[in-house]
């Protein structure tokens, strides 16, 4: 385990390939600065996100999870982001009741042209995670397969 002083939050981002992922690309090509704390997984749609993914990420020791999809009404598959919205709302509320800091579960709408917004969101979320400190919910340094979690 790293020392607390040099601790950096690890944020897992599930980005929709039609919007947010392209938005992240744009943030890169337009040289926007944002914290390198985010690890990105490309998903076909924010509606692909099962609450299980969010929970598993927390279980594996990620300090926060960001689900990012298209703005309402702009989903490539018409309704995926609306469904995602319901699921994430439920997951966030329920985990909050169980004692998880709501800050650890984040969602955003970022379109392909919003590179700036993507950089802002990641910066904000990272700063908030820094405030609440590391995820000790599952109290494990190793993942379920017994391998040390990558820093």
């Amino acid at each position: 385990m790293k020392q607390e002083s040099e601790w950096e939050p690890r944020l897992l981002g599930f980005l929709c390939k039609w919007c947010s992922y392209a938005g992240a690309d744009l943030a890169g090509t337009s040289r926007k600065k944002y914290p390198a704390n985010i690890r990105i997984i490309k998903v076909p749609c924010s509606g692909r996100i099962d609450p299980l993914f969010i929970l598993k990420a927390l279980r594996l020791g990620f300090d926060g999870v960001l689900v990012s999809g298209c703005h309402p009404g702009e989903c490539h598959y018409q309704t995926g982001n609306y469904r995602a919205r319901r699921r994430i709302a439920l997951t966030k509320k329920f985990l909050e009741y169980m004692g998880v800091e709501p800050t650890r579960i984040q969602a955003s709408w970022v379109s392909a042209s919003e590179g700036g917004k993507f950089a802002e969101v990641v910066t904000e979320v990272t700063n908030e995670l820094k405030e609440i400190g590391p995820n000790r919910l599952f109290d494990e340094e190793r993942d379920i397969y017994g391998t040390k979690i990558a820093p």
Binding site: G73, R85, R86, L90, F94, Y97, G99, E101, Q106
Partner: protein, 316 residues
């Protein structure tokens, strides 16, 4: 009510309107009942209705082929409607024999009140708002609210809304639901850290027998995610981390189907207060989406539809 039930059940079988009758018969232990599934019209004479008919029989509907006549309390009828919403059961394949339910007696609460094991009690009978318990030849009276299950104390629909035959006069819903919420309110008053510790402690007792899942009419997946091996989401070893993940995901899966029947908590062999999870999910669903499970068979299931404008304040 019992006589009417037997008469109706027999008629249904005789006329060939149903293939099965699903109801309750006296259990092998005192004050218990056990589900009775029968095609035999002589056996319907074993059917009973008393304040101990705990089980949610809707659970059998997905397994039985053919037309089923089923005895349903308020919460069970909601589970049935919820199955109809999910297209697991066709409305025309069920004949719902509705029972206006005045609440089910929790034997462990009785044991606590009297300080005796249930086997030592002689009789428990309900008279209006009172329950009369006989032990050692002495009778004692208690208010009914002291012995009902927590979920019955907060019952929103004691009389089935969806039924074919209603046995008895409709009962009114409970007005003061605070008693059923006591445990949840107490948890909500705690800071997040102790609350997480509370749940991790409670769930560390879990032996992963999956009784809560198997008894639940809303848990009807052919293959549950816990048995999935590619990818393996959860280890089958009952560690609290896995147990907690299992319960969280199970609750999210049954969101919008859970009718607060309380079967999971009753089925739990290690007494984990599961209803404090399911009821909170029930309330979250109501608060966020103004949705109550199993109220109207023509509404779409919760997670399959959406509103343009809803629950957006948490999204950046």
């Amino acid at each position: 009510m019992e006589q009417k039930l037997r008469r109706e059940a027999k008629a249904l079988l005789e006329q060939g309107q149903v293939d099965y009758i699903v109801g309750f018969e006296p259990g092998s232990l005192k004050f218990t009942t056990t589900p009775l599934i029968t095609r035999d019209k002589e056996e319907v004479d074993r059917l009973v209705i008393n304040p101990f008919i705990v089980n949610n029989l809707a659970n059998f509907l997905t397994e039985l082929k053919g037309r089923v006549g089923i005895i349903a309390k308020g919460c069970d009828s909601r589970s049935i409607v919820s199955l109809i919403q999910d297209n697991k059961v066709a409305r025309e394949d069920v004949v719902i024999l509705g029972i206006p339910c005045p609440g089910i007696i929790d034997l462990s609460k009785v044991e606590e009140l009297i300080g005796k094991d249930r086997d030592e009690l002689e009789a428990i009978s309900r008279e209006g708002d009172k329950v009369v318990i006989t032990a050692d030849g002495k009778t004692s009276e208690f208010s009914i609210t002291e012995v009902l299950f927590d979920n019955c104390l907060g019952c929103e629909l004691p009389t089935p809304q969806e039924y074919d035959i209603l046995l008895g006069e409709p009962t009114l819903p409970v007005t003061d639901r605070s008693a059923s919420q006591a445990k949840i309110e107490q948890l909500k008053g705690m800071p997040p850290q102790p609350r997480w510790e509370f749940w991790s402690n409670e769930l560390s007792r879990c032996i992963r027998c999956y009784a809560c899942r198997n008894v639940c009419p809303a848990c009807f997946c052919q293959r549950c995610f816990v048995e999935e091996t590619e990818p393996q989401w959860l280890m089958p070893v009952p560690r609290w981390q896995d147990n907690l993940m299992f319960q969280v995901i199970r609750n999210i899966h049954v969101a919008g189907r859970c009718t607060d029947c309380g079967e999971c908590e009753r089925a739990c062999p290690v007494n984990i207060p599961l209803r404090s999870l399911t009821k909170e999910m029930y309330d979250i669903v109501g608060e966020l989406f103004h949705f109550k499970a199993g109220m109207d068979k023509d509404t779409a299931p919760l997670m399959t539809h959406y509103e343009q404008e809803e629950a957006e304040d948490f999204i950046r």
